[in-house]
Symmetry: C2
Subunit: 362 residues, 2 copies
């Protein structure tokens, strides 16, 4: 277990992270797959009802369990308390999707363990004592489940989790009771949005026990045609059932997106190509870009790549821009510059540089 | 005097024309200078009250006078009746600013004499029997006046114009009475528009006996930050006075535009540069452009050239695009293609090709 200065840590210097780097099944449409388990220590109140001593007790218990986790899973972890992270560093972790926006603003004693390759992050004293997250590239819910499950098992070797024979794992919020499992896939669905089918499809998901969230999780909005589809039900079904069910719905969404792409290529034709090329024209020449516009235009660039209009740039490079081009990463890369206008200028410069280095435009 | 098939005439094959090609004083802001004289033949009713025989009489009289005009001015003219021009060819002449939109739709026997270099066009049976127009590049009102005056003198050697000692030249519409002269300059005033000063400046022009029109003359709207400033008063002042007065106001407008450019460069800075670069990005990548958008984006491209942001492309090349990218020229260059969507596609292709051949982007 390494407890190193944040400044020296790749997590805060590299905009690349596990999910942004890999390739995998359906990787053109499924950006990433995420699995998280909510766990709480037995006989200790949930974080929101925990006093300072109790908060420290949880931190101590979890940090003591990490070496065993490392040994069992043969993986190294960085451990850091939230107190030692600046507000900027916390935001960078949100931008990498390694922690939740809520956790970044935590006012209680909290901590974080991140596997060296950034595939696993364990939030300590978030809404629950432990939130074990595994985040992998592309369509890999099963791998994410196996990985999170191994982490869970290894931690359970040293920590006693609150568990009820009837209810399953006990959690601070009843919506997580039972398996404590939330699985989700981040999907890029521009064609369903363009053909105005996304809303009606999404409105049918709750009936299937699923829900759609924005790109930074609960309470955040969809941007750049990216949608996080996850299970709503955690109780009364096995982990495997939840995952198999989500997998099948995700595959249906992927198929619907592919079909919508075929249709818009025929029906919108020039208009679609025009939009995609304009997005490229703007990204490659603009001198000022806000984060939202960048995400929207990158969505079209990604679609152009998928449709074979562009070459040179890769899905991974676009993922990287989606992290490196966010405020905190930009701010960090530019000596703490926090003036929004200047960040927009730097964002545009970063995007221009990346495109000029990668794009092969016929 | 050549009376050749329209198809074989450069006028309808080259998008370049006299005013689009030349350089000259204040050529960055003053696109072109125009002078026209309204003349009518003595003892013949004005065109709108003229029967068919009378219309032909006017045409015969004018065409008979052209050889003398050519001899006196040592310049060749093409002569064509409007009846022999297709609707598309008439529109092309409007797009070159060689005839008025009203004349293009004339239903009476009309004709047109165009000097070989396209600097002078004489409309026969427009609102008046003769409309002598001289259109030159940049700020050249005096040259345009001299040229039109020479044409007028040469024609007067063969034709007797309706003239009254008290009133001067008699015209169909009393607003042209006296000198029959309308002088105008086409100005590119993006900085005055951006800094929202254009409206108040233009509203002060009528007090000075001047007026602002759109780019195709009376009743057309301003587009691409291009404005045609011309004299309103034709009576009670000498031709020289009218021209000197217009010249001085145009020089003031040019100075105000230059000052506004200095201010927006300071105050808008990133925003201005961003707008200019985005215009370039869109023009160089869009797959579909309508004429209005092309004109608006070309205005920013021209401004970028003026501000030293771009190199490679010239003012003349932008002028040429402003003609070649209009519907009729595009249609003619694409085998008569008249589907608006396809014309937008061809327009975008033309602009892309031109920019890729000329622009030197750092």
């Amino acid at each position: 277990m390494k407890h190193m200065k944040a400044e020296a840590n790749n997590i805060f210097t590299r905009p690349q992270t596990k999910w942004s780097l890999g390739a995998g099944m359906q990787g053109d449409i499924v950006i990433s797959s995420r699995l998280r388990l909510a766990r709480n220590l037995k006989n200790i109140p949930f974080p929101h009802r925990l006093n300072e001593a109790g908060q420290k007790e949880v931190l101590n218990a979890v940090s003591s369990a990490i070496p065993n986790l490392e040994k069992k899973t043969k993986r190294s972890y960085f451990y850091m308390t939230l107190a030692e992270l600046t507000s900027l560093q916390r935001k960078m972790l949100v931008e990498k999707h390694l922690i939740s926006p809520q956790f970044a603003q935590s006012r209680i004693d909290s901590a974080l363990a991140i596997r060296q390759d950034e595939a696993v992050s364990i939030m300590v004293n978030e809404e629950d004592h432990l939130r074990i997250q595994c985040l992998l590239p592309a369509f890999s819910l099963e791998d994410a489940w196996k990985t999170a499950n191994d982490v869970d098992d290894a931690l359970a070797g040293k920590l006693e989790f609150a568990f009820d024979e009837q209810l399953g794992y006990l959690t601070a919020c009843p919506t997580n009771l039972g398996t404590g499992l939330r699985a989700s896939a981040m999907l890029h669905l521009p064609a369903l949005v363009m053909s105005k089918k996304a809303d009606s499809i999404f409105s049918s998901l709750p009936k299937l026990g699923l829900t759609v969230r924005g790109i930074y999780g609960e309470g955040t909005s969809a941007i750049g045609n990216l949608f996080q589809v996850s299970n709503e039900i955690t109780l009364g079904r096995s982990e495997e059932d939840i995952i198999i069910h989500l997998q099948s719905v995700v595959m249906q969404l992927v198929e619907q997106e592919r079909q919508a792409r075929r249709i818009i290529q025929k029906e919108y034709d020039v208009l679609l190509y025009d939009n995609i090329w304009r997005a490229y024209g703007i990204l490659s020449q603009a001198r000022s870009l806000d984060a939202q516009e960048m995400m929207e235009r990158l969505s079209l660039l990604r679609l152009g790549l998928d449709l074979g209009i562009f070459a040179g740039i890769t899905h991974n490079k676009i993922n990287e821009l989606m992290i490196a081009g966010q405020d905190a990463f930009l701010q960090s890369a530019n000596n703490g510059e926090s003036n929004p206008q200047k960040l927009n200028w730097e964002r545009a410069a970063l995007v221009r540089k990346t495109l000029s280095e990668t794009m092969e435009v016929k």
